[in-house]
Every structure is written in C-alpha cells, then in structure tokens.
C-alpha cells in the first residue's frame, strides 16, 4: 500500500499544509511525493528532505505550471494505478484538483479528513464542524484532501528520498493562467502561524486593521478576518477564517470585534487558546473563548499593544 501526495511549494520550500498531508499519508504506509510544474530542482530537493517520504516524482512540464486543474488532474490520473491513496492538502489547489481526479477515476473523493482510522476509514467534519463523520470508502483508489490544521506537519528536513522523473501524459489545453494578484505580507501564513489575530465587522474600516499590527508584530502573528470584514472590503479575501475560508488551529487565536457565528467558529474552534475582545458581553464568541474581554476594541487594542510592549 503506497500513497502519493501532491505537494505545493514556494521559494521557501514545501508548504506547511502539504507537510501535514504527508503526515496523514504516513499513517497509511509508504509515502511518495509529487512535485509538478517547471524548474523543479529546488522543490524536488526540498521534497526529498521531508521525513517519511520514500520517493519523489518530478513532473516537469510547462503545461503543469500554476497547477491548473485540467492538466494536473490528467497527471495524477496517469500516476494513479501505482497507488492505493492519492492525497493533497485541503487548500485552494488541493480542492480544485482532487475532486476532478476522483471523478476521472470513478471514485467518491474523501474531502478534508481530520483523522485516519485505517486504510479505508477516515474522520471528516460536516455541517461546519458540528458533526464529525466517520466514513468508510468502498472505492479502489482513495482520493483524499487533508485538513492541515488536524495533522502536525512533518519537519522540513531530515529525510533523503530518491528522486525520479515522472512520465508526462497528454495534457489538456483548455484553460490558461492569466495572472495572480497575491497579497504581500511579511507575516507568517494564516494556516502556518503559531498565533492568529483576526478582526471582524467591529473593526469598522480597513485602516483600523492597523491597530492589530503592533500586536501581530509583537506576537509573530498572522492577521485574519471574519467574512463580514472581507465582504466589507476591509481586507482581502485570503484573510477569511471559517467554514468557507481558511481553517486554522494555532496555539493562540485572538478574535477582535467578531460575534462568533457558526461559520466563523468552524474555522478556529480547534485553536489551543482562544481570546475574544468584544463590547457585547452576550456575543456568542465568548462561549468558545478561554479568555474574554468585554471592551471597546478601540481602547483595548492600543492598551494591548502597549502592555505587550512594556514587558
């Protein structure tokens, strides 16, 4: 039984959600990893250093740049016969590609697993995480996306896998990458940060997110947001934490001016420690907060920044 994990990478190496997907795959047996795109030398070397990876397949073709779903799925389908499980992280890339692969293999994908019970049986959250379903797959090949927040990532270093070139199948040419407008930030990625501080509608305006910055700087935190803050245009879409945004489980999550709707809780309630700052003491966010501060955020945030600065 061997699994193949589709990895995402950037200049800094293999992305943390992909390393969590490798951790999930290790529970299933031997692990091979796949990097796809062009100019893959560094990515292949980084993949080979992941502990627990036995082999790295390198699929080098310009048609695989940007991992468009149509060619990437064709590649995975071509590689599938050698594998019992195909996995990727539940990221925009994984969610885009893996269901397409599953349909081409005539299998039902197993989306966003939070635990591995055995080779056929997995736990996945449903209804915004209000239920944890244990599901057993009857399909020959398991096509899986992995909830990164539920699996401690494997380290970036420590392994020494063999690197092989993958044969490239005919790649469909029906879609074209035009451009990417990526948010630039010096901060850690939301899904990899040890501390996350998120603002909601209570922040009132995009510029008020500046109030979070000295605190984020001090704590090495990523900045997130509720859907309402994104819809209002305070911050870009990739800040959204929740059922339909990013799922995070940091050591510390600070929710500022966020009411605590089910959909938001779904994205952060597995955090180790939750702090809520809200002026409404009845706000549902206090029901999940370890530490609640009933206060106006416009006075509490500068105070918090000063308090952290002081010590």
């Amino acid at each position: 039984m061997t699994s193949l994990v589709l990895l995402e990478f950037d200049a800094a190496g293999i992305k943390q959600p992909s390393r969590s997907a490798v951790a999930a795959a290790r529970k299933l047996g031997e692990v091979h990893a796949l990097v796809a795109g062009s100019g893959l030398d560094e990515a292949a070397q980084a993949a080979a250093r992941l502990p627990g990876v036995a082999k790295v397949l390198v699929a080098d073709a310009p048609g695989l740049d940007h991992l468009l779903a149509e060619p990437a799925a064709a590649l995975l389908v071509a590689l599938a016969p050698a594998y019992s499980h195909l996995l990727a992280a539940t990221t925009a890339v994984g969610k885009n590609i893996m269901p397409r692969v599953a349909a081409l293999l005539d299998v039902q994908p197993i989306s966003d697993i939070a635990d591995v019970v055995d080779a056929d049986t997995f736990v996945r959250p449903i209804y915004a995480g209000n239920g944890l379903a244990t599901v057993k797959s009857a399909d020959a090949t398991k096509v899986i996306t992995v909830r990164a927040a539920s699996f401690d990532p494997v380290a970036a270093e420590g392994g020494s896998a063999a690197v092989e070139t993958a044969a490239i199948p005919d790649l469909p040419n029906v879609s074209r990458f035009v451009s990417a407008a990526l948010s630039k930030s010096e901060r850690p990625e939301l899904t990899a940060a040890r501390v996350v501080i998120s603002g909601g509608r209570g922040m009132q305006a995009g510029e008020n997110f500046k109030l979070l910055e000295p605190i984020a700087d001090k704590l090495g935190a990523a900045v997130g947001a509720s859907r309402a803050a994104v819809d209002a245009g305070f911050v870009p879409n990739d800040y959204q934490v929740g059922q339909t945004g990013k799922i995070v489980a940091p050591e510390l999550y600070v929710a500022v001016g966020i009411s605590g709707a089910i959909q938001h809780l779904a994205g952060m309630k597995d955090s180790k420690v939750i702090v809520a700052i809200n002026k409404d003491e009845e706000a549902p966010i206090f029901q999940v907060a370890d530490y609640g501060l009933v206060a106006d955020l416009f006075t509490a945030l500068p105070e918090l920044a000063a308090e952290l600065e002081r010590s």
Partner: protein
C-alpha cells in the same frame, strides 16, 4: 447561451445542527431548510448574465427529496426560466450528483454550468470539479468575478494567497465564491410568476445513473467541547493570564 444551475436544498445556514443521540447522523428533522447560499449566488450570477443579454435561458436543477421542488421555485422566483427535479430518497454524494448532472447536461447542452463552491451540509466542495471532469470541460472554481467574451470565459478565483485569473474555453464549469455577487430577494410578483414556470420531474433511473453512495457513514460524533472560559477585567489581566496561566505568549 443556456446556463444550467444546480441548486441544493440544505439546512438553513442560521440553524445550529446537532448530532443525533444514536450517532447515526445529524438531527435535521423539522429544521428550516433553504437553498444552499452558494447556489443563490450561482442563480444570481446567471440572472445577471441574462439581464445583460449574454444568457438566453436559465435552467435550475435540484436532486433529492420531493421538497427540492421548493428550492427550484426559489430559483425560478429569482429569475430562472424552468426547473428540473431529479427525485430520489437515496443519499446522494457528489459522484452520483455529478453523474446525474452530466446526464442532464448531455440532454440540455448548456454552454455554462454554475454551481456553488461548497454545500454547507456535507462541506464536500467537490461536485463542480467532478462534473467538469465527467463532461471533459475546464473549470473555474471559487469565482469572485466572471466575464464572457466569445468562446471564452475569464474567471477571477479566490485562492489561498489572494486572487488568480484564468481563461477557459467554453463550455465550462464555474463554482461560486462569496464575493461573486449579492443575491437578490425575490419580489412578490416574481414569486407569483414562478408558480407558473415549468418543473420537469425525472428519476435517477430515467437518467441511467446508479446513485448508490460510495462512502458509508459508520457514525457521526460530537466535536470536542471547549471548556467554559473566564472573563478578564482588564487588558493587563489578559496579558498576565496568557503569559502565566496559558503560557502562549
């Protein structure tokens, strides 16, 4: 150009659903049901394309129990032209839904199919991509803006790092993200008009599809409960607790 929009009947997003005491599933009896919010966005986008003269006909499709007809009526009241109900009491998973929708697409020959990016009950986020695969069409998932020019559609997608723009050959699949539009409320006259719009009824057998689920749910359990926390009186107390008690800063 014809647009097909699959609309799913789900538990309303405001309802907090609980696990059944026997662990066999979620307690959904008697709770408010609505159209999946992402599918409202899909219908809205189709209606806007029709208002702009880009689309000529919008067909709303729902699969499931007979009450899915109500979900289709909502779509018709928002501006869809006609409905197709694939009626079954069977549990439908994305693979079966995608196969049924493929059979409908083969008959209807739409140029564009707009689905929600995710059903808020099963949280699968799979059906659109699977339908695209079965039809051998390109896919523009998690769309926050679309524009159609000639034989192509350009989709701005919400991705983890921000936004990505792709151009796809038509026919194509689009799945909606939250920022694509703000769905309208159906007006009373349009709700009245919707009553006269036709809904065709089919069964999975009519479409030659075996909808049997491939994933068997062994049990559903409650997520871990968080223990009740405390309210702190000041920022200084908060920082002290985080430092000395929780030891996270």
């Amino acid at each position: 150009m014809k647009i097909l929009v699959p609309v799913k009947r789900v538990v309303d997003y405001n309802v907090k659903v609980r696990v059944k005491s026997d662990g066999s599933g979620m307690e959904t009896a008697g709770v408010k049901m609505s159209m999946n919010p992402f599918d409202e966005i899909a219908i809205e986008e189709a209606v806007r394309l029709k208002e702009k003269g880009v689309a000529s006909e919008i067909v709303a499709v729902s699969l499931g129990v007979p009450q899915c007809a109500e979900t289709i009526r909502t779509a018709l009241a928002m501006g869809a032209d006609r409905g197709i109900l694939v009626e079954t009491d069977a549990e439908l998973q994305p693979l079966a839904v995608a196969k049924l929708l493929k059979a409908i697409a083969d008959k209807e020959q739409p140029t564009l199919i707009i689905l929600g990016k995710q059903a808020i009950d099963d949280d699968m986020s799979a059906t659109g991509q699977m339908l695209a695969a079965l039809l051998d069409w390109p896919q523009g998932t998690f769309a926050s803006k679309i524009s159609i020019e000639g034989e192509q559609i350009t989709v701005i997608r919400e991705v983890d790092g921000g936004l990505e723009t792709v151009t796809l050959n038509l026919p194509a699949i689009v799945t909606t993200d939250l920022r694509l539009n703000e769905p309208r409320y159906a007006s009373l006259p349009n709700i009245m008009k919707a009553r006269k719009k036709p809904i065709d009824k089919l069964s999975p057998a009519d479409l030659g599809v075996d909808p049997a689920p491939r994933l068997i749910t062994l049990k559903v359990s409650d997520p871990p409960k968080r223990k009740a926390g405390v309210k702190v009186g000041s920022v200084a107390e908060l920082v002290a607790k985080l430092r000395n008690e929780a030891k996270v800063i």
